[in-house]
Amino acid sequence: MPTEPCADAPEVGRETRLQLLRLMLLQRYAEERIMSLYRQGRIVGSVYTGYQQEAVGAGAGLALGPDDVALPLNREQACHYARGVPVAHVLRNFLGKATGPTFGRDGNMHFGVPEHGIFPLVSMLGDLCPVAVGAALAFKRRREPRVALTFFGDGAMSTGDVHEAINLAAVLQVPVVFVVQSNQYAYSTPTNRQTVNTNLAERLRGGWSIACERVDGTDALAVYTAARAAIERARAGGGPQAIEAVTLRGHGHAAHDDARYVPSELRERFQDPIERLAARLAADGLAPAEIDAVRQRAREEVAAALDEAEAAPAPDPATLLHGVYADPISS
């Protein structure tokens, strides 16, 4: 099947389209490098990518305002880039560097970037949702026109934390946006073994009484448009909002998982979000060379970032006890 361009979204200008493309490419290329470093043993532990889900983090991240805050997960590296996090900073974390966002204390996308309004991923699925609600509660109490946005997967929706958080948000009517990464699988478990109704937007509306639009998660313009609308509704006092972005996890759960359990028929139903946006830009009349230039610049940005990250110092074991407490107790 030929690549189907993103549906046109006239309200999304060319600048934004190009920016979305760039954000997705940064994630794509950074993850390519990460995977190869992992295979070489230069990144240790395990590695999760958001391959072919890049539109979701990019679209939702870019729809946020500068004072909004985000709580992204592993699949949403592009959300970090949308918030202005340098690629090198992300890579420093994968590489366990002292000057990375966790000072080498955690790996992967398990980090926050306080200066960009990003809270660190906590692995326990669901744990970030209550945190997002609390941040939104702070905005509401202080009458600040700010929004907290977080993500959870089809799998995480089965956790108590997600339920409690959404219900709490709905009762308190706080400006929080939940983006559901509905990527057909939680690890090896297909969504229909995770929940009876795999239309999660329907579930969210029916069970928690929050607005939830279901969008094509491989269409960056659609995600961006829906996220923007949700964010602005939340900002305007409309209470919590949700979006279900339907995608397919392009890689296995983590680097070790070949995802053999994903049937090829299913794979065929999902297209690459980057190519879809590129096709849209081409249909818009952008010259192929211009698109190639965007790709090229992103590739160069990642390459330079990797050099920078690899040059960063390793953490000093003597610092291990630093920062366990913000106010250390002397004894």
Binding site: P120, V131, G134, V324, Y325, I329
Partner: protein, 316 residues
């Protein structure tokens, strides 16, 4: 002023002095909380400072962390400390680890009414502080006096780390004292000598302080009130044991849980040369907290049991 009133006063003063402070919990608004701790605060401060939540301990503990991230200073009330098990994940993984792994400060407090003696049975009497001993990034305090009920809560709210504040239900109306001054702060991480003495050291906290003082009347025994049970005030304990050469740890959690194992291990490891007798522990047996008075009275430490153990220790 009663212990419970000192807690309320601390909340009220913090609400008055600091816009960033707000309260979050079940039935704490118009109802004033299951034990009445927040009585009158909703009327005085309104819906945005005293916020009733649905029943979701994990979520509102996590929400407190989120608000703290944004610079607020929320104070959460659990209806009973027993329900801290429901918020356990968020406390040990979000609250405890965030600063260390990101530099983000999460200044919030979880208030948890704990302890037995109120015929609450296994689910309304627990002393869960032991689960948090050793959890890096958390601070755990247990006021054992009216002054500390106030001073520790004010200090906890002003602290930049997440603090678990265990308030003893049986002390709410048992301890009475002068109203603490508004400036009273009890430094986190610092215990105090509740009574100086030279023949032995009793290390305790919470309801144990009053109990130890009563049980050791007439003996030349030093009573330490840990105040903060995690991280431990190691210096206070070790210096006292160095002077007295004998130590008894008194706690309300069952023998193999709580604070006693850590205190004992600290004294054994670092105070060994000073010890003239094995450390002694007075604590309930390793069972859940029983309901019937006949059982609970047998389970909990009593002045007689503490006295007996002290006399044995002194005679060693």
């Amino acid at each position: 002023m009663l212990y419970i009133e000192a807690i309320r006063a601390a909340l009220r003063d913090a609400l008055l002095e600091d816009e960033r402070v707000f309260l979050l919990g079940e039935d704490i608004g118009h109802f004033g909380g299951a034990f009445g701790v927040t009585k009158g605060l909703w009327e005085e401060f309104g819906d945005e400072r005293v916020i009733d939540t649905p029943i979701c301990e994990e979520a509102f503990a996590g929400a407190a962390a989120g608000a703290a991230w944004m610079g607020e200073r929320p104070v959460v009330e659990l209806q009973f400390a027993d329900f801290i098990s429901c918020a356990f994940d968020s406390i040990v993984n979000v609250a405890a680890k965030t600063h260390w792994r990101s530099g983000i400060r999460l200044p919030f407090v979880i208030r948890a009414p704990f302890g037995g003696g109120v015929r609450g049975g296994p689910f309304h009497s627990q002393c869960p502080e032991g689960w948090f001993i050793g959890v890096a990034g958390l601070k755990v305090v247990c006021p054992g006096s009216v002054d500390d009920a106030y001073g520790l809560l004010r200090a906890a709210i002003e602290d930049d780390d997440p603090v678990l504040y265990f308030e003893h239900k049986a002390l709410y109306r048992r301890l009475d004292g002068a109203a603490p001054d508004r400036a009273t702060r009890t430094a986190l991480g610092k215990g105090r000598i509740a009574r100086a003495g030279s023949d032995a050291t009793v290390v305790t906290y919470g309801a144990g302080v009053d109990l130890a003082l009563r049980a050791s009347e007439g003996l030349d025994v030093e009573v330490l009130d840990l105040r903060t049970v995690w991280p431990l005030d190691r210096t206070l304990v070790l210096e006292s044991v160095e002077r007295t050469s004998r130590v008894l740890v008194l706690q309300e959690p069952a023998r193999s849980s709580g604070v006693a194992p850590l205190v004992c291990s600290l004294v054994a490891e670092e105070g060994f040369v000073h010890l003239d007798a094995p450390p002694s522990i007075v604590a309930p047996p390793d069972t859940p907290v029983p309901f019937a008075p006949e059982l609970e009275d047998a389970y909990l430490p009593t002045p007689e049991r503490v006295r007996g153990a002290l006399e044995e220790l002194l005679a060693y």
